[in-house]
Amino acid sequence: MSDPSVSSHTHAASVNDRPVLLDVRNLSIDYVNKDASPAQAVRELDFTLRAGEVLGLVGESGCGKSTLMLGLMRLLPPAGRIVDGAVYFQGRDLLALSEAEMEDVRWKNISIIFQGAMNALNPVRTIGDQIGEAIRLHMPRQDSAAVDARIRRLLDLVGIAGNRKDQYPHQYSGGMRQRAMIAMALACDPQIVIADEPTTALDVMIQAQILELMGNLQKELGLSIIFVTHDLGVVAELCDSVLVMYGGVTAEYADVDTIYNAPRHPYTQELLRAFPDITRPAGKLTSIPGYPPRLDDLPPGCRFAPRCPQVFGRCRQEMPPIYRLDDKHVASCFLLEGESV
């Protein structure tokens, strides 16, 4: 079934030579709650995204991955607060921009496809009209013929016939609505697209079509993509690098091959053992006992300690720092203390 020769691993290596587009440093986000202490949704997150790089942001529900993305886009709900850190896009600190400047960044530099967004299309406006709105607002000085041509080109790019621009969302299938959402995200030529669980609600075959489309767009347009997902299979197929989050913090961050073939954090190791692998159908699945922590009720010490098979005394008292294991591999676990470079 599989033919490993089809794909190359040179892409991940070459990505490291490209310029850094996005540099997230020490980002911490709280959700405030007037009756209780704030929920620490994201703590001290560091990562970079290079031009043309595909980063997988992996974690279970409630691990803070969507909050991290909303935070760097400055789209947090009212209770969300960025309490520390910085987000640089090509050297510009996004957290220091005015709201108007940020609005421009959101379409022209970084755009986001929200989870379940294919159900968020306005049902009483045509698809073309909804894509056109983004173009008209953020790329003014284009006459209607130019906007129209651009809508057709965007639809063509995602594999939808241009003449379907005048149809309404209910006339599109689920897969086509997701394609339309991708076209909308590309409306103003962003360099970075954040896709939050873009295929979760889709059938496997439609999911494969969308993933193939995103891979092709990445190559054709040189896009950088952040894939937010809990699906380790999707990440292995598409990404150059992977950031594994647990309980609002980085568990492990490395290139894709290291994460899957030489993971060092116990959470990464356990998560991989729990994920079914169709190439080993008789392989035993192991679950991780317990469940992820609530962000308003975090354990003292390491956030994975209550579920960790390798836990020892110190893990329950102290939060492990992030250890750098090599140039592009970090993990947050006391077991790795001696290996830090």
Binding site: A236, D257, N261, A274, D277, P281
Partner: protein, 340 residues
């Protein structure tokens, strides 16, 4: 009515069959063509000529994409939809013509587990009340004390031990995995012989999916419960199913032992479905057989083989011949004229 447990050997394939479905069809009348409705009737062909059997303590996975008819099939087995044609034998009884009162009795023995443990539990009822409810509906379990004993046993069999830690709690106090265990306990309390599990893990986090799959496998092994495991994810069937049936547009296109289907698939649709399951290892990135387009609507079915418009191997004859299931591969049955 009581459900006789005795099963005569020659009526069912294998002397320990629980469920035998033969040529089952379920279609929904959509309307008539023509402005005065005098034209031909049009139907949604949801399930068409499906046959399979399920042994005692066996897990059969029913795999397919949305719209392939797998959920309609489950609803028809439960008597929530009336079959258009065909036979359903459950525990030796032909139930396809049963009245709804008779089916209520059957459903004590045939329980459904739904996909979403967040939506299928009443948020205002305690866990104990939720698991007790089926006993009240079916007026089972004798005295209050006996009912309580059964609730405790169902919760503990579903892995919520000790049960008294959960009885008084409300659904929102539990994690997703624990809620799905409550749903399973609600089915187990009736001591069913057959569980219809419709996507029981697809809403759960990866780290807890395995524990629910392992729980279902344990119920099969210790209680001898038969399970029809409905899923769109071929990745999860290896861990649980003894046999796999792949459905496309209302038909079973391939059925056989799990390892045979997963390692040596015969039907072109099965091969395509397997090739698109993401593999959690970047060193095994491979060419995927991505079918273009989407499953055609089940109203205007393609002529001949229903899969031919999307089949990468289709030849002329596929447009004309509607292929029956025939033996192929390592113990499978396959509906494709190109497979010997």
């Amino acid at each position: 009515m009581t459900m006789p447990r005795a099963i005569s050997g020659n009526e069912l394939p294998g002397k320990d069959g629980v469920l035998t479905v033969t040529n089952l069809q379920k279609r929904f009348l959509l309307g008539r063509a023509g402005i005065f409705g005098r034209g031909s009737e049009s139907y949604v062909h949801a399930v068409d000529d499906v046959s399979f059997s399920l042994g005692r303590g066996e897990v059969l996975a029913l795999v397919g994409e949305s719209g392939c008819g797998k959920s309609t099939l489950a609803l028809t087995l439960l008597g929530l939809e009336k079959p258009t044609r065909g036979s359903i034998r459950f525990e030796g009884n032909e139930i396809s013509e049963y009245s709804s009162a008779q089916m209520k009795n059957v459903r004590r023995h045939m329980q459904m587990i739904f996909q979403d443990p967040y939506e299928s539990l009443n948020p205002l009822m305690s866990i104990g009340e939720i698991v007790m409810e089926p006993l009240k509906v079916h007026k089972l379990g004798g005295s209050r004390a006996e009912q309580e004993t059964r609730v405790v046993r169902a919760l503990e069999d579903a892995g919520l031990k000790p049960a008294d830690r959960y009885l008084k709690r409300l659904p929102h106090e539990l994690s997703g995995g624990q809620r799905q265990r409550v749903v399973i306990a609600g089915a187990l309390v009736l001591e069913p012989t057959l569980l219809l599990a419709d996507e029981p893990v697809s809403m759960l986090d990866v780290s807890i999916r395995a524990e629910i799959l392992n729980l279902l496998a344990e119920l099969r092994d210790t209680r001898g419960i038969s399970i029809l495991f409905i899923t769109h994810d071929l990745g999860t069937v290896g861990a649980l199913a003894d046999r796999v049936a792949v459905m496309y547009l209302g038909r079973i296109v391939e059925i056989g032992p799990t390892m045979a289907v997963l390692t040596n698939p015969q039907h072109p649709y099965t091969k395509a479905l397997l090739s698109v399951v993401p593999v959690p290892n970047p060193r095994l990135r491979h060419k995927r057989l991505i079918l273009s387009g989407e499953t055609p609507d089940p109203i205007n079915l393609p002529t001949g083989c229903r899969f031919h418009p999307r089949c990468p191997l289709a030849v002329d004859a596929c447009r004309k011949t509607d292929p029956p299931l025939h033996p192929a591969g390592a113990g499978q049955e396959v509906a494709c004229i190109l497979v010997e």
